[in-house]
């Protein structure tokens, strides 16, 4: 088995697969090492599929906007896989005065960054989506937001990268990254050693376990999310939905089922084993159902056919680390996407491929430097 390449990528989520694709497209040889038996088995296959700009931190907004104008519209054709990208807008719903203040604040920040997003009242919300209950008194509306299928997007990048010669090895956990002559070059697994001129660590929370030993620690933690999906229903609406209260988010997929995620308020406390395979709970989906029914009484009889859970990797300041690890030659990091990494993933991966080959990222990447975390005093 080949064990040397220009670039070794650790992790086969959307960042690992898409970076492999953009690097392979430039003629760079790539080996992707995945600890799990399946490609993209972490958050990349477990999220709600939002491709949003609104509601984002202003520091990551330029990258999100660039991806939505330059990558997403043509991605299905580029990968030869239907990623089900649907650009029909995002409604972030509010029911109380407090909600509307939260939404106004997010909207003001996004408008300052040049995004077309505005506040609308309850009547205007129901003109866009007539199924919403009268409890909804307002929303932020961003017409260029949307959603896509995270499963086919991640596997589509994998498939295309593999066609271009990127070498993927699953069931191959990296135990440590080793330096050689001052540069991070070696990825050590139970079966052997893989060597590259540069290493990209893109393994979600687990990235921290590998890079901290080289002096590049990213302050983040594992936080569980839970999602559910209904049986296929007749087409009702095409927008991506979220709420100011974050009690649920989701959309109707191309084949008709609704995908919703939600929160119980207990996510910060993980699960009894402290990590491991994420398990959906008896309270998670039930709580999300109650949240949804307050907004969509018409969905009360929709049948839930599946629930699942996944780990997100919230960073200390809520945006990812993307780029070269300052002080560790040869090491690049992409993690800490904080639960909103899917929509921004392709643009992040494109930028990583540019940075790793001496090119220039399409937007200013300095907000994502890993040295930005400071002590409070």
């Amino acid at each position: 088995m080949k064990n040397t390449a220009d670039v070794i990528i650790i992790g086969s989520g959307i960042i690992g697969c898409a970076s492999a694709y953009y690097l392979a497209k430039k003629g760079v040889s790539v080996i992707v090492l995945e600890a799990d038996d399946s490609i993209g088995n972490g958050g990349s296959s477990r999220n709600g599929g939002g491709v949003r700009q609104s509601g984002r931190d202003p520091r990551e907004l330029p990258l999100a906007m660039w991806g939505i104008s330059h990558i997403w519209p043509t991605l299905s054709d580029e990968l030869g896989t239907d990623v089900e990208y649907t650009q029909k807008g995002n409604l972030r719903l509010g029911k109380t005065e407090k909600d509307l203040k939260v939404l106004q604040n997010l909207t003001d920040h996004a408008v300052a960054c040049g995004l077309d997003v505005r506040m609308i009242n309850g009547k205007e919300v129901r003109e866009i989506n007539p199924y919403l209950s009268d409890e909804v008194t307002g929303a932020s509306w961003c017409p260029t937001d949307g959603h896509a299928n995270p499963l086919t997007t991640t596997l589509g990048y994998f498939k295309k990268a593999r066609e271009l010669g990127a070498h993927f090895i699953t069931g191959e956990p990296v135990l440590k990254i080793k330096k050689e002559k001052g540069s991070a070059r070696l990825a050590v697994t139970p079966d052997g050693v893989f060597e590259g001129d540069r290493i990209l660590a893109a393994a979600g929370y687990e990235t921290r376990l590998l890079t901290s030993k080289l002096g590049a620690d990213v302050p983040m933690r594992g936080k569980k999310i839970e999602c559910l999906v209904t049986e296929a229903e007749p087409p009702m609406f095409q927008q991506m939905l979220g709420t100011a209260e974050a009690d649920f988010y989701g959309h109707q997929t191309k084949h008709g089922s609704f995908i919703f995620g939600g929160s119980t308020g207990l996510e910060l406390f993980g699960q009894p084993d402290g990590g491991g395979a994420p398990m959906s709970t008896s309270i998670g989906a039930a709580c999300t159902c109650r949240g949804i029914m307050k907004y969509f009484p018409a969905l009360s009889n929709a049948k839930i056919i599946r629930t699942w859970a996944g780990w997100t990797d919230p960073s200390a300041d809520g945006i990812p680390v993307i780029g070269q690890a300052d002080g560790v030659h040869g090491l690049y990091i992409a993690c800490g996407f904080t639960g909103h990494g899917f929509g921004i993933g392709p643009a992040a991966a494109y930028s990583i491929a540019e940075m790793m080959t001496g090119g220039k990222a399409p937007v200013d990447m300095s907000p994502f430097r890993c040295t930005r975390f400071k002590a409070k005093i």
């Binding site: 088995m1 038996d37 399946s38 490609i39 993209g40 088995n41 296959s45 499963l151 086919t152 596997l155 994998f158 498939k159 593999r162 070498h167 993927f168 090895i169 699953t170 069931g171 191959e172 209904t230 049986e231 296929a232 084949h255 959906s280 008896s282 989906a285 039930a286 709580c287 999300t288 159902c289 109650r290 949804i292 029914m293 969905l299 009360s300 009889n301 929709a302 049948k303 839930i304 056919i305 599946r306 629930t307 699942w308």
Partner: protein, 106 residues
């Protein structure tokens, strides 16, 4: 467990077969040929094939076709079905209305 972990390993070319248009997953209408092609595109696990094609993601959640899909993938990889990890079962085991799943009444 099978170590089908090198996704560039040579499993031979995809050769079209007479029964490729047989529907294996009835809920999502996925054919045998589509499953076989997915394996040759690099999808070596049940989880990957399920996510890529939707087989086993419909109303019955793969309770009807799961074994067939596993057998087809194993055959393409030149492995035994017992060497493949099954797809993860997900709650609820039967489709359940939102108003019932979300009810707190005892």
């Amino acid at each position: 467990m099978i170590r089908a972990n090198d996704r560039s390993a040579d499993i031979g070319p995809f050769i079209a077969a007479d029964d490729d248009d047989v529907i294996i997953c009835r809920c999502e209408e996925v054919t045998k040929g589509e499953i076989r092609k997915a394996v040759h595109s690099g999808m070596y696990t049940l989880a990957e094939v399920r996510r890529y094609l939707r087989c086993g993601m419909g109303l019955c959640q793969g309770q009807t076709c799961g074994r067939l899909v596993k057998g087809i993938i194993a055959h393409e990889l030149g492995a035994k079905p017992s060497q493949l990890e099954p797809a993860t079962g997900r709650a609820p085991m039967r489709p359940t209305e939102m108003r019932i799943l979300g009810s707190e009444k005892r």
